[in-house]
């Protein structure tokens, strides 16, 4: 493989990382809202949130992507395919992240909240100072896991015409007739990115566990 082609693959990998990162970030924001709605005692909030989570976790991502990609123009919304892809990935990961966050909030030990109660913190102060920071630490491994899942799942946005790592490998194998080479290189790059993210995740966890005092 010539350097030129390898550079193309790396550029595409960069795009995969970028699109995944944007989707994860937007998904985290939506996921927080969905999680808050699902934990709410108001049925008007919790039921739609429950349906959202069940729907977006119950439908294959590929089908979601195809639907969003075709639904937007049908509704008269014309956006670049990258935007449709990010929307699809973000809406899907939001459902998973909402569940992860809910798990995190529910696993904050009851006693830690009681201790906050005893020193007179208001519910909002408890959320801001105790529950949210602890829930975030508890959710971190799941968040890293979700990042890896989305990095891999982003290969599916190749079918809606976004040129990212998988699509680039597809194009280059078609034009050079060397699918083994290009799909292996693409696989290797995905693997390297996933290992990097996993490694960064466990480093962050270790730092947090000791409290980063040293």
């Amino acid at each position: 493989m010539s350097t030129r082609l390898f550079e193309l693959m790396l550029w595409a990998a960069g795009k995969t990382v970028l699109l995944s990162a944007i989707s994860i970030a937007i998904g985290l924001a939506i996921g927080l809202l969905v999680c808050a709605a699902k934990l709410s005692p108001k049925k008007l909030l919790s039921i739609p949130a429950t349906v959202y989570v069940s729907l977006f976790r119950g439908v294959p991502l590929l089908v979601q992507l195809l639907l969003i990609y075709n639904l937007l123009p049908a509704l008269g919304i014309l956006v670049p395919s990258e935007v449709a892809a990010i929307a699809g990935l973000a809406l899907c990961t939001a459902a998973y992240q909402a569940e992860n966050l809910r798990g995190g909030f529910n696993s904050v030990p009851r006693g830690l909240i009681e201790a906050a109660d005893m020193v007179g913190m208001s519910p909002w102060q408890q959320l801001r100072r105790i529950r949210a920071p602890i829930a975030f630490r508890l959710t971190l491994p799941a968040l890293v896991n979700e990042m890896i899942l989305i990095l891999k799942a982003s290969s599916l946005i190749s079918v809606v015409g976004v040129i990212e790592l998988t699509r680039m490998a597809q194009n280059l194998s078609a034009s050079t007739f060397r699918p083994l080479l290009f799909y292996s290189v693409a696989g290797g790059i995905y693997l390297a990115i996933c290992w990097l993210v996993a490694g960064g995740g466990s480093l962050a966890e270790r730092l947090m566990r000791t409290g980063s005092s040293r």
Partner: protein
């Protein structure tokens, strides 16, 4: 005669259909140490948690220094729920030390002690740290302020938890089995801090299985059994012969855990 620090009048508490407190009457004199004893499931921890308003009583009234906690009498045996701000005001007089320490894991020892001073009372960081360091010194941990809970032993964590409660200068300090989660060799350091606190004349209410400690430090012993207050009086009277048969049975169970020292 001065008002008692805590006055409990006909308090009942049920979880679902099981009644765990069946009409408790108890008063805790100011500046005294009261120890709540009783077998597992006797309701002593629930009673303490009701005094902290971590559990709501099903009926009856609890007064803290004359002020009703959570519920006020409304005549004819009924009661009304007080406003959240009233509850917060009365509760501010109470500090609590938990069996599981419940230190916030993402904050240092000093951070745990000063958190409420800054967040709740709006104190400046520097002033809060000064108080925090003083309280940590009081429990013998002035050199551990920047350690996280995970870096401290159980005994040290519990002493930080005591400092956290003391920092808000409560009138009454509640202890819920403070040494029950500790390795035996670590209970001493916590009990010593508690003994010193008792000597300063602070009002302490302690649920404990350390009968030797209760007998030597407590000025008042309350023995609960099956949700009822069976005995209530000074240790000499309670532990002196002849003993109540239920207490005798209870003491036998705990003989190997320090009660031997008092007999």
């Amino acid at each position: 005669m001065t008002r008692p620090a805590v006055r409990i009048r006909d308090v009942h508490k049920s979880f679902g259909s099981t009644e765990v407190l069946k009409g408790i009457e108890l008063s805790v004199p100011k500046g005294s140490t009261t120890c709540l004893l009783g077998p597992s499931g006797s309701g002593k921890s629930t009673l303490l948690r009701c005094i902290a308003f971590l559990e709501e009583t099903s009926s009856g009234i609890i007064e803290i220094d004359g002020d009703p906690l959570g519920f006020a009498e409304a005549g004819e045996g009924r009661r009304t729920r007080l406003s959240a701000s009233d509850i917060r005001r009365v509760r501010a007089k109470i500090g609590m030390v938990f069996q599981q320490f419940n230190l916030w894991p993402h904050m240092t020892a000093l951070g745990n002690v000063t958190e409420a001073l800054v967040t709740v009372q709006g104190m400046k960081r520097s002033a809060a740290n000064e108080i925090g360091n003083r309280q940590l010194a009081r429990v013998g941990l002035s050199d551990r302020g920047h350690h996280y809970p995970s870096e401290l032993s159980g005994g040290q964590q519990q002493r930080v938890a005591i400092a956290r409660a003391l920092a808000l200068s409560p009138d009454i300090l509640l202890f819920d089995e403070p040494t029950a989660s500790l390795d035996p060799e670590l209970t001493g350091e916590v009990l010593n801090v508690m003994r010193e606190l008792a000597e300063t004349g602070m009002t302490l209410v302690i649920v404990t299985h350390e009968i030797g400690f209760a007998a030597s430090v407590g000025q008042k012993i309350a023995f609960l059994d099956h949700g009822k207050l069976l005995l209530d009086g000074p240790p000499a009277e309670i532990f002196g012969t002849p003993r109540h048969p239920r207490l005798e049975q209870f003491l036998e169970t705990y003989l190997d855990r320090g009660a031997a020292t008092l007999v």
